[in-house]
Amino acid sequence: MWQLGDQSLTSRLLIGSAQYPSPAIMVEAIRASRAEVVTVALRRQRPDEDAGRQFWNLIRETGLRVLPNTAGCRTAREAVTMARMARELFETNWIKLEVIGDDYTLQPDTWQLVEAARTLVADGFEVLPYTTEDLVVARGLVEAGCRVLMPWAAPIGSGQGPLNPYALRTLRDRYPEIPLICDAGLGRPSHAATVMEMGFDGVLINSAVASADDPVAMARAFAAAVDAGRTAYEAGLMTAREMATPSTPVPGTPFWHSDLGAR
């Protein structure tokens, strides 16, 4: 069990609800992922008129904790308005805060992000900010009152995997007490396992599952990878050696000859 905000969770995989071939496949994939938290976008659904009700009901019926997001918002003000609307619609103070600064890469606008986080925390929200791997931005978000950080591995939907593992490790080292969820850019189960092995508390997956040929099977694959990565982290990974040194003397080879290699 681990703690995310006010909730105890068993699964360390959070899942998205966009881009599936159909809502039926989405629901099946969400079940297969064993996720307990699902993110939902509402920007384009006319939340003020509840026009996406039927789709959202399918998500509510999964019984998962809903994490609404502010996808598509470009300023702090827009994101704050969307977060308040989401709180009404889904009766939750959780918000995955996204403020987009670049339309092509969907890279977050980190200035606007910190500003929106400050406003929303003061307003009683549990803010889960989608951010870059930047340490100083992370500090700004923590100072703004965020109790969770969601750094990207790579741009949303790119499937590139962790592009800057060093910075992700730095975040883990500098914020050992803050739940870190790797959000965006993970394309393969092995990417998810890699960040979990670094000690991340969870991962959020959407495109990699939704755009697979078989989203349900891919959801299972990610669930297994997240388990493997976490278990490996807890088990304590061996340290890689610089050279392929035999761990015991090779019988028949005197140790003073061993650096000569095969002739």
Binding site: Q45, A51, S211
Partner: protein, 360 residues
Amino acid sequence: MSATLGIAGAGLAGRLLALAMAERGWDVTLFDQDAPDGTRSTTYAGAGMLAPGCELEKAEAEIARYGLQSLPLWKELLARYGPTVYHGFTGSLVVAHPRDQRELQQLQRKVEQRAAESGVVQSVSASRLAELEPALAGRFRNGLFFPVEAHIDNRAWLDALREALCARPVAWHTSTPVARVAPHRLVTAQGDAHAFDWAVDCRGLGARTDLPALRGVRGELLYLHAPEVTLSRPVRLMHPRYPIYIVPRPDHVYLVGATAIESDDLGPITVRSVLELLSAAYSVHSGFAEARVIETVTHCRPAFPDNKPRLLYGDGLLHVNGLYRHGFLIAPALIQFARQYLETGSIPAAAQPIMEAYPV
């Protein structure tokens, strides 16, 4: 005495079924919320694309199968009811900008993997692309060609069906929405019950009164008049977020669509959607810069949670609903199944994946 048939909904499916059964001597009555021009139907709002290959990217295999089955039926239908309706059986093209090549590769991989036969999709070079659509010469390095795909002027076709129906002894109650479709019985929104041997539901989202699982998936598209652009077949642009299609109509008119938003909002098109559709269209051909926006269209596609259509059958009852974005693609095949069920009471083998006894 001939069998009586009441049909709720005079969109594409309702009209095709009414014609097919009237020609077999059935006594057919149509009910629809709309006027005979059908401008409120999703048929009128669609683009009339027959793309069984491209649809393999997201749709279930049955959709492609019914789509392929429908292609020769379309040729017969056009010859019979709409010889002058604009159409093209010349295939369709898919292109992508250099940095979105991955989308093109992914589409090709998925289609090849899911297609029942080879040859559904072909890689084409820049020179072949220029042969097929000279207007695209020098604009794209490569593309995909789906040779068997086709397109039909949906609005002209709707009108051709109206004429065909009016020339036959079919009773057509316009401006008469149906609230309930029950065995042997249709009940209008005004509360009038009409008895028939068979009651068939061909409504769009209106069928939610009986089938609450149906949901709306909002689609938006634009009509452009672009004298500087000459394209003879549908062109799709792959993009990670703004995939679009451009479908030609006579006289340099093009449909540019379409969004797919999980919402049953029927309100006017949004600025964001216009920006996305037009930027993408302009990136395909700069001649769209001086095009006129002649119309914007929004509607909601009726879909079941798995986005597959259903033929729900019972004694004296048949629902033909949830055609989603595949109305033109699969309607002829579905109407063939419906006709067979009405005439013989048997379930065609090919229809089994989408036919269910109802109520369960």
